[in-house]
């Protein structure tokens, strides 16, 4: 779309939305939010990018094939469930480690890995759909 206004505002919007999507993903741990909704926000950002600057730019920007991103997310989510194999607990049990980083305790969990996987699945799959639709619109 050849709109000067949109193209000027787009970088700002996109950067904000992508950051917000990651904030929502991490916040989803103990409060409303999570991988699914965070992923949707990221897809919305990429969709705006596509409308403003064309689909090719988005494809270059995300480097990987959208469906490959979804595949990586699915792999990550499944592996997160498999971690419990080594702890002798059932599949998908939440497992925590709390390493110290610069004197600050950072709680990490397999749940977060799972949620990140969901985030990637949503981003990959829906970006694939959105880009295909936008491509059709450009013809």
């Amino acid at each position: 779309m050849k709109s000067l206004i949109l193209r000027t505002v787009a970088p700002l919007l996109i950067a904000l939305m992508l950051m917000f999507s990651i904030f929502v993903l991490l916040r989803g741990h103990n409060e409303p939010g999570g991988g699914f909704i965070g992923g949707l926000i990221a897809v919305a950002a990429l969709a705006i990018h596509g409308i403003a600057n064309g689909v090719e730019t988005v494809r270059r920007a995300i480097v990987f094939d959208p469906l490959a991103i979804a595949g990586a997310g699915l792999l990550m989510a499944t592996l997160a469930g498999l971690i419990s194999l080594w702890m002798q607990v059932p599949f998908m049990t939440g497992i925590w480690i709390e390493p110290s980083l610069l004197g600050q305790k950072v709680p990490l969990s397999s749940v977060m890995l799972f949620d990140t996987g969901v985030y990637l699945v949503v981003v990959g799959a829906l970006t694939g759909v959105v880009l295909a639709l936008e491509e059709r619109g450009e013809d």
Binding site: G71, L74, L75, V89, P90
Partner: protein, 528 residues
């Protein structure tokens, strides 16, 4: 958070016993399929790597499912509850013999399909993602067979439905999309009904765990509108299984996709509906299913008859096979209508037989069409002369699907007819025999026209077509399996009897979910 100031007794809410390695067999078939499917999506562009990854992966899946069957046969039903939560709160995977038998058969057929796809699914089909879709389809199918949670069953139905959409439109031809729309619309409707019924169950019982539902239905049958629930489930799963009168989507869509896809769908998808019908209606609501028996019997008879008459009227090979699938579904429904050990056992055995034989029949039909240059019975001819080996294999499968000895179709038919006679259901027994007889005529007609009849003038010139080994091999394997089951039915019969016993009296199933005898009381909760 992990650190809490208040001491919490975790054993009130969580499974505290360490999970043995062998218990991972319960979840592994599903996890493995998802893992490989995801890996295949990652290497989506490297098409030639797909088959090399997927075929060994499916072979390993067969090994896992065989191991699971062995484990279940030795120890009885086994359960794993996800995330360590105690049932009925955690999502439980509970595997009994029925589920394990179905999963193993499905794995075998998927392996056969993946090998046959080497030839049948060409470059564009693979670029569209045949193998990733196949792996995710198998994740859905395995999940449906192994899960012990009603809503989880719904989720696996969705997984396999979405994958099946992808497989149906592989190549995006116009008539494929036409077929997929009909298939998709009816299946989505069935899934919606399933979801509504599941919601109703949750509203009434406050639980989705199948073992828990079974206990609560037994304890207080008057609390719930059981008849409504059962009728909703019968309708939803009947649509999936292609029962009359909601089966018109099957002949409308099964002849459009690629051969391997039709073969896998004909083998697997309708049987998932039958499995769900047996599991949910047969195990959870036995009394209301028995009350619905006259309706189900009528549906079964009509499904059988419309199936065989449709098969007799068709001239297109693949459409004809679609009607034979429906006729087989009718026989399984007859078993479910009769209920009890004999009825459920017959239905389970028939379903296992049908998974193998219908897939093989589609392979055979594809090869026949390849050899003769057309799939129309009006023009096909002379295959017996040009490809005697294929003719012999096809004849064996025709015998098997008609329920003639010494093939796998014979024994479930015997079980079903005998149960019908013992129970005084003479109409069902007569229809089963009549359907078998008419199937024999329908398949004999194929053999007469396509194989025995000398090539007609209209037949495309029969150059000696070399048949692809990658389709022949699975065809031979599945036919041998059918023959093997027909010749040595005892081991499978014994397993099926135990499986059916477990469905009629699910005490072991419930015991594996609740080893301490009863579910935890919910403090101040909705449950009694």
């Amino acid at each position: 958070m992990a650190v809490s100031s208040v001491p919490v007794d975790l054993s009130a809410a969580m499974v505290m016993t360490p999970t043995a390695l062998v218990d991972w067999l319960i979840i592994l078939p599903v996890v493995w399929c998802i893992l490989v499917g995801a890996a295949l999506m990652l290497v989506r562009r490297r098409v030639q790597a797909h088959a090399r990854l997927a075929i060994p992966a499916l072979a390993l899946l067969v090994v896992m499912n065989a191991g699971l069957l062995y484990h279940v046969a030795v120890t009885g039903p086994v359960t794993m509850v996800m995330g360590r939560w105690l049932p009925p709160f955690g999502v439980a995977f509970t595997v009994d013999l029925t589920g394990a038998l179905f999963a193993l058969t499905a794995g075998l057929v998927a392996l056969a399909g993946s090998v046959a796809a080497l030839d049948d699914v060409n470059g564009s089909g693979r670029r569209y993602g045949f193998y990733p879709f196949l792996m995710l389809l198998m994740a859905g199918v395995n999940g449906a067979f192994l899960t012990g949670d009603l809503f989880n069953l719904y989720v696996w139905f969705e997984v396999l439905l979405i994958s099946s959409f992808g497989l149906l439109v592989l190549g995006s031809e116009r008539r494929q999309i036409d077929g997929a729309v009909k298939y998709g619309f009816l299946n989505l409707m069935a899934t919606t009904l399933f979801l509504i019924a599941t919601g109703l169950i949750y509203g009434v019982f406050g639980t989705l765990n199948m073992a828990d539902i079974a206990i609560k239905v037994q304890a207080a049958p008057e609390r719930a509108p059981l008849m409504t629930l059962t009728a909703l489930f019968v309708l939803a799963f009947g649509m999936k299984a292609a029962a009359f009168p909601v089966n018109f989507w099957l002949p409308a869509s099964y002849h459009t996709p690629r051969l391997v896809v039709s073969a896998l769908f004909a083998g697997l998808l309708t049987k998932v509906g039958i499995y769900a019908l047996i599991r949910v209606c047969g195990m959870l609501f036995p009394t209301s299913l028995a009350a619905l028996s006259p309706v189900l019997s009528t549906i079964a008879v009509l499904t059988m008859l419309t199936g065989v008459f449709g098969a007799l009227a068709q001239t297109d090979l693949r459409r004809l096979l679609g009607y034979l699938v429906i006729a087989g579904i009718g026989s399984m429904l007859a078993g479910i209508a009769m209920g009890g050990q004999g009825g459920f056992g017959g239905a389970v055995f028939y379903a296992l037989h049908s998974i193998v034989v219908m897939t093989a029949l589609y392979f055979a039909a594809g090869l026949a069409a390849r050899a003769g240059g057309t799939a129309s019975l009006a023009v096909l001819g002379g295959i017996y002369r040009s490809h005697p080996g294929l003719a012999a294999l096809s004849l064996m499968l025709f015998f098997s699907v008609s329920g003639l000895p010494p093939f796998s179709g014979f024994w479930p038919k015997v079980m079903l007819v005998r149960t019908a006679l013992d129970g005084g259901a003479f109409v069902l027994a007569a229809s089963l025999l009549l359907a078998g007889f008419l199937t024999t005529i329908a398949t004999a007609r194929i053999f007469l026209l396509a194989y025995w009849r000398p090539a007609t003038d209209e037949t495309p010139p029969l150059a000696v077509v070399a048949l692809p080994v990658s389709v022949l091999l699975p065809l031979v394997g599945l036919t041998a399996l059918s023959l093997g089951i027909g010749l040595f039915p005892e081991p499978l019969l014994a397993l099926v009897r135990v499986a059916a016993e477990g469905l009629v009296a699910p005490a072991d199933y419930i015991g594996s979910v609740f080893p301490d005898g009863f579910p935890v009381a919910i403090p101040g909760g909705a449950a009694p």
